[in-house]
């Protein structure tokens, strides 16, 4: 497939935003159980705004994927109608929902609103409840985003449960890395907690992403030129694709890069997403702000490469019809 930067930025940015929210709420749940020092509302308010900023950034990137930006206002609302069948529609519902819930989560912390649902002595019950709902929506959004790709069965590189695991773990890892950098400024006592989780999630993501790379390296495509045109002969060569100037079919489904470039992108993301951030996180364990920010920035850049590779590696069966001019 031809990697589109609107989708690359959409999926990576909302992944960071979702992961950062999960990091904030994980901390709040831990402190509710007295496992971590509790934080003032500022920590959650600024953190939610940061997460919201990444989600809005993803939304802006998504507009670039529409035919015209104006469709955002005139037509995109129809995107909520097909949730019964379309994972893209489900994503279109969940994305504003997550944004709204993250906004409310920050707002409730800001105003310090409180409703006591449970009798016993537990602070911040309203935000804990809201955070739980938001967490469910965040995981729903991870699944919906990944299922957009994993549900196309003939894009065999994508049609795999690992795609969903990768999206969730990579989003979570980048969000927790950002949370570590954020904590270095806002709450230094939490740096160790976030660094630990960021390293665990990054290594988990390495295992699942590595698994999908191994799977895709050995993939056997079901469709061949024989099934494409329905002629049972071992030797078939395309002589003409019916046009010489190129068309949508030759632009949208080919990445247009050399095999060597593809391979180098794979190694770039494998280095930038996993070992370098883990090393920087480990070095920044004692609160080195620059190191933790660098860990996040490098991991994010790596994720852009990772997503580019994710799209470029998928081989669409329609390419069987477009092999020779």
């Amino acid at each position: 497939m031809h990697p589109t930067f609107s989708v690359i930025f959409l999926t990576t940015l909302i992944g960071v935003g979702q992961g950062l929210f999960l990091a904030l709420f994980t901390q709040q749940s831990y402190s509710a159980a007295n496992l971590l020092p509790s934080q003032g509302s500022d920590f959650y308010v600024t953190g939610s705004l940061l997460a919201l900023a990444f989600l809005v950034g993803g939304l802006i990137a998504a507009v670039g994927h529409l035919g015209k930006p104006s469709y955002m206002f005139t037509r995109a609302w129809r995107g909520i109608t097909q949730w019964r069948t379309s994972w893209l529609s489900r994503e279109l519902i969940l994305m504003p929902l997550v944004m709204g819930l993250v906004f409310l989560y920050g707002a409730f912390h800001y105003f310090g609103w409180e409703i006591r649902f449970l009798d016993y002595n537990l602070a911040n019950q309203l935000t804990l409840l809201l955070g739980t709902i938001t967490t469910a929506a965040v995981f729903g959004l991870f699944i919906a985003t990944a299922m957009i790709y994993a549900s196309i069965k003939f894009l065999q590189e994508w049609a795999c449960a690992l795609t969903v695991v990768n999206y969730t773990l990579l989003g979570g890892a980048s969000g927790f890395t950002l949370a570590a950098a954020y904590a270095a400024y806002a709450a230094p006592e939490l740096v160790g907690f976030y660094v630990g989780w960021a390293i665990i999630l990054t290594i988990a993501a390495l295992i699942s992403r590595g698994g999908s790379l191994i799977r895709n390296a050995r993939i056997k495509h079901k469709s061949t030129v024989q099934t494409a045109i329905g002629v049972r002969h071992p030797q078939i060569q395309q002589k003409s694709m019916g046009m010489m100037g190129g068309s949508y079919n030759t632009r949208e489904y080919f990445h247009g890069a050399t095999a060597a470039f593809l391979k180098s992108v794979k190694w770039i993301f494998l280095v930038l997403v996993f070992p370098v951030p883990v090393l920087l996180l480990w070095l920044g364990m004692d609160g080195g702000k620059g190191l933790l920010v660098a860990a996040f920035v490098i991991q994010y850049i790596g994720l852009v490469f990772e997503r580019w590779f994710f799209f470029a590696q998928a081989n669409h069966p329609q390419n069987l019809y477009y092999q020779t001019v």
Partner: protein, 241 residues
């Protein structure tokens, strides 16, 4: 349930591209507005087409065969492009099984084209919506046309009648008979899309003729024609005369 479709006879397609040009002509002049053409007479021409004719070579030289292969939307019975559309723009009509895009609802996200294994959909770079073969839906029901003209433009244009059109769910229709009796098949059956369009394979029109069928040993005409050497001996005829 009606399922309108095309059946394409690869045995008689000569690869003239008449279906391509007639399709473009009809659909670019249609109600849905022109189909995008960029730089049509310039250096890198490109544009939106609903139908293409491709050419394949089967076998290795000198034992090769050329196959001209027209490809348009197959109007799958279980069309994978329809459920993925977030806005409902991409739909399959219940009454005749034609898969269509509502150009007023499409947001141009291109997801349906990713979900089509055949590459049948093309994005219109001018209107910024996805377009595809409509089976000339604006023509086949047009009561102002003669009944014989109520067929897709490509079918009418084909000089060798390689394109048959009709209801593949009616067992007695021309297309169903052709599929049944001439080995009609579907493309990429492995994905379970159940394309409505079928293709008829190339066939060798040959009969086995043995030498003795051309030259009968017991042919009486031949027998009379066999000239023997005349005998020098006295025969019964000589004696009688």
């Amino acid at each position: 349930m009606t399922q309108l479709a095309l059946v394409i006879d690869l045995n008689v397609c000569v690869g003239c591209h008449a279906c391509v040009t007639s399709c473009k002509q009809w659909n670019t002049s249609g109600q849905a507005g022109p189909m995008f053409d960029d730089n049509p007479y310039g250096k890198d021409p490109t544009g939106t087409f609903f139908n293409r004719v491709q050419t394949y070579e089967i076998g290795s030289y000198p034992n090769t065969e050329t196959l001209h292969f027209p490809k348009s939307c197959l109007h799958c019975e279980d069309a994978p492009c329809v459920p993925v559309c977030p806005t409902g723009a991409s739909h399959k009509r219940a009454e005749d099984g034609i898969v269509l895009v509502d150009y007023d609802k499409c947001i141009g996200c291109k997801y349906c084209s990713w979900a089509c294994p055949y590459g049948a959909r093309e994005f219109d770079e001018q209107q910024k919506v996805m377009k595809k073969c409509t089976l000339c839906v604006d023509r086949i029901y047009d009561q102002s046309l003669d009944e014989r003209d109520r067929k897709p433009a490509c079918v009418l244009a084909c000089p060798t009648s390689a394109r048959l059109y009709g209801d593949v769910h009616d067992p007695d229709s021309e297309v169903s008979v052709a599929i049944r009796e001439r080995g009609g098949y579907q493309l990429m059956p492995e994905w379970g899309t159940k394309p409505a369009n079928h293709y008829l394979p190339r066939r060798k029109t040959q009969i086995n003729i043995h030498d003795d069928e051309l030259t009968r040993v017991d042919n009486p005409l031949k027998k009379e024609d066999i000239r023997h050497e005349t005998s020098k001996d006295v025969s019964l005829d000589d004696w009688l005369m």
